[in-house]
């Protein structure tokens, strides 16, 4: 698909229509004067899947920010009465078949005398799902105290959108809270990788020669280590008594220890290419300092590629955190992340009996997919002057 921007038909009678006018400005001959960022945005907009993924990712991050408001129950509140309850059925039609506000039934619990486990059956009392319901109190946006939640039900029934775990905790609320850690670890990790990668890759490409050789050798060594065994070794070396916050930062540091190598290579390649450009040479000849050249001529050209590459390396970090936590050498409870939640799914019998504990996995996969699509779109848009086949 060759990207061409059709020249707008000027002089059409509808040209006064504001919408159409804007559209024409978008696609019209203005394209030749459009700034680079505008061209990128136009190119990116064509990639509908990437656009959609971008919106979904924003949504996920919003959920993470407002985790307390969206979650139904306090993630630390457990209840022996609701062990491994399957996801609650939400009904939209009452017994007469009329459409009503969503409601659920209460749960009847009895002990199965053979297995000595609780069995839950649907009761016959209905409880409507109430929006802006009062629940546990928390600090809204870390600022002021409130107890309003997006939804909830009155005492007597239990709303488990994704079922409950072995201690009767609500998996939905935990997934929502886990998003905070799982989504931020990718961002923080990629930020750290960016810092290392841009500095070292930039130096490597800018100075070349011996410095370049040393840095490239280092990158080769790091890249030839199989990453998961390396992460395992590093993560296993974190003492168990450290506070969750320090462990969190150490894990991101460990993940970015390898992550920077890819970014460094990209930056090095771009810097080397841009250094050969005529405008850079002209700047050197007119006596501009190194710092000026880097800031004015090299960085602007590299930014978009670096952002695209960084977006594409976020999913790898998310998968890595999930895998490490799943193995029990990453984050540990009481910290809630998607990987920590999946720790409960280690035994095959648990999965077979209570498959809903795999719900967090669904969010891991969705996030990774969306980031991949978004990154693809950004990469295509990163160089708007190139016509891609």
């Amino acid at each position: 698909m060759t990207t061409t921007y059709p020249v707008g038909q000027s002089g059409s009678p509808k040209a006064f229509d504001a919408d159409l006018k804007e559209q024409q400005e978008d696609r019209g001959s203005d394209i030749f004067y459009a700034s680079k960022s505008r061209l990128m945005w136009l190119r990116f907009k064509q990639h509908k899947v990437a656009l959609f993924s971008g919106v979904m990712i924003c949504l996920f991050y919003l959920v993470a920010i407002f985790a307390n408001f969206i979650s139904v129950k306090d993630i630390n509140s457990f209840s022996a009465k609701f062990k491994y309850v399957s996801p609650t059925e939400i009904h939209f039609f009452d017994e007469e078949g009329d459409f009503t506000r969503p409601f659920i039934y209460n749960l009847d619990r009895k002990i199965n005398m053979e297995t000595l486990e609780y069995e839950y059956t649907q009761g016959d009392t209905t409880y409507p799902i109430k929006f802006f319901h009062k629940g546990y109190s928390y600090k809204f946006l870390w600022m002021f105290e409130t107890d309003r939640h997006l939804m909830g039900v009155d005492e007597g029934a239990a709303l488990f959108l994704m079922g409950s775990d072995k201690l009767g905790r609500d998996i939905f609320s935990k997934v929502v809270h886990g998003a905070r850690i799982s989504l931020s670890i990718g961002l923080v990790g990629v930020f750290l990788s960016l810092v290392f990668g841009v500095i070292l890759g930039g130096i490597s490409g800018f100075y070349g020669g011996k410095v370049d050789t040393v840095i490239q050798r280092l990158i080769e060594v790091l890249m030839s280590f199989p990453s998961i065994p390396l992460w395992m070794a590093l993560a296993a070396s974190l003492p168990p008594h450290w506070s969750p916050l320090i462990v969190y930062f150490m894990i991101t540091l460990i993940l970015s220890l390898i992550g920077w190598t890819g970014i460094a290579r990209v930056v090095r390649g771009i810097v080397m290419r841009l250094k050969e450009e005529k405008y850079t040479e002209a700047a050197v000849l007119s006596g501009a300092g190194n710092f000026y050249i880097i800031r004015k001529h090299l960085l602007p050209g590299a930014t978009s590629f670096v952002i695209a590459h960084a977006t594409l390396s976020i999913p790898a970090m998310i998968i890595a955190e999930t895998s490490l936590s799943f193995l029990g050498i990453g984050l540990r409870p009481p910290v809630v992340s998607w990987g920590v939640l999946l720790q409960e799914a280690q035994s095959i019998t648990v999965i077979a009996n209570y498959p809903w504990i795999l719900y967090p996995a669904f969010f891991v996969i969705a996030t990774v997919l969306f980031f991949n699509f978004l990154g693809d779109g950004l990469r295509d848009a990163a160089d708007p002057y190139m016509n891609r086949a």
Binding site: P226, L230, A236, F326, L327
Partner: protein, 329 residues
């Protein structure tokens, strides 16, 4: 050509030395060591030990780790040329007795996965490039994206769950019960081959997905070049037009991925092995790391890295064979 191979092999020696140093430092990172853990265990059993320092010294002397880190490193590394990798504290055996079986199976899985990945990427890549934007193409890219997005361990869990549902027994391990402690025989080999396909699918999916994309992209680029039209206008049969010219071009980027594929496959198989409880390096490395069994863990880390270095070396040689521009530069 021989000179190229020789030069390329020479370059990897400093890399190996660096890797051995990093491996050794890594396994020393955790606070405390095996001796600490051992002593605290002894103290629980026998509270009457009063002279802890003397006990520590005697254990350290027995394990031969009383020297400084640098001396220990040289002791460890100087054993490598004659196959002595130190002593495993946990298993109370020399390391070299423990690792070869696991490394062999890891190598087997990695190698078969690599072959599986390359062949399926080769054929599916060509097919999707010849018939782009068809149902088949979309199905392949759908599963490709899914394969990239699903973490290995989840795929393993899922397959285990499905095998439990469909066949009644969850898949795990690499041998049937009757073969676990049996010596190697034809029957055992066949048994391994019967079990090995699940780890191969699990480890190979992500790599296959990205390689199909590479193969498809280069094929699409090449298919519309004038030389293809020329070949066709000469009256060559279709299969010859495809296989003889564009495919030859498209294979080079595929071969160059072997280098970075290998570390990924090795690390992927480590985590899959833990989930599926395969008797390969993964679970043992994890156990050794947790138990601070430093020589065992260090040797495993080192050997996995060596495996990937050799793989990269081989991929460079294959590339040089395929592309004269590389070997002559």
């Amino acid at each position: 050509m021989l000179f190229y191979i020789f030069r390329r092999a020479l370059i990897s020696i400093p890399t190996l030395i660096l890797i051995s140093i990093i491996s050794f430092i890594l396994i020393q990172l955790p606070p405390g060591d095996f001796v600490d853990a051992y002593i605290s265990e002894r103290l629980i059993i026998d509270g009457s030990i009063s002279d802890v320092e003397a006990l520590r010294a005697s254990i350290q002397a027995e394990l031969d780790i009383s020297d400084s880190m640098v001396v220990n490193y040289f002791k460890w590394i100087s054993g490598f040329p004659h196959g002595d990798f130190g002593y495993s504290f946990q298993h109370q055996k020399p390391v070299d007795e423990l690792i070869w079986g696991k490394l062999g199976l890891t190598f087997l899985i990695t190698f078969i996965t690599l072959i599986f990945t390359l062949t399926s990427a080769f054929f599916i890549g060509i097919l999707t490039a010849l018939k782009p934007y068809t149902f088949f193409d979309y199905i392949v890219s759908f599963f490709g994206f899914l394969g990239l997005a699903v973490p290995n361990f989840l795929l393993a869990l899922l397959l285990m769950y499905l095998s439990l549902k469909w066949f009644g027994t969850p898949f795990s391990g690499l041998f049937s019960p009757e073969y676990i402690n049996a010596p190697w025989s034809m029957g055992k080999l066949l048994d391994v081959l019967k079990h090995i396909w699940i780890p191969i699918i699990v480890v190979g999916t992500a790599g296959t997905a990205s390689q199909i994309r590479i193969m498809r992209a280069t094929m699409m680029d090449e298919l519309h070049k004038p030389y293809v039209d020329t070949a066709r206008s000469k009256g060559l049969p279709q299969y010859k037009v495809i296989l003889k010219y564009p495919v030859r071009h498209a294979v080079t980027p595929l071969a160059s991925t072997i280098g970075w594929m290998l570390p990924e496959l090795v690390s992927g198989s480590a985590i899959v092995a833990i989930v599926l409880s395969l008797p390969t390096t993964g679970p043992f490395l994890l156990e050794a790391l947790r138990g601070q069994d430093m020589y065992l863990a260090g040797t495993f880390l080192m050997m996995l890295a060596v495996l990937t270095i050799i793989g990269t070396l081989l991929s460079d040689i294959i590339l040089a064979l395929l592309d004269p521009r590389i070997r002559l530069s």
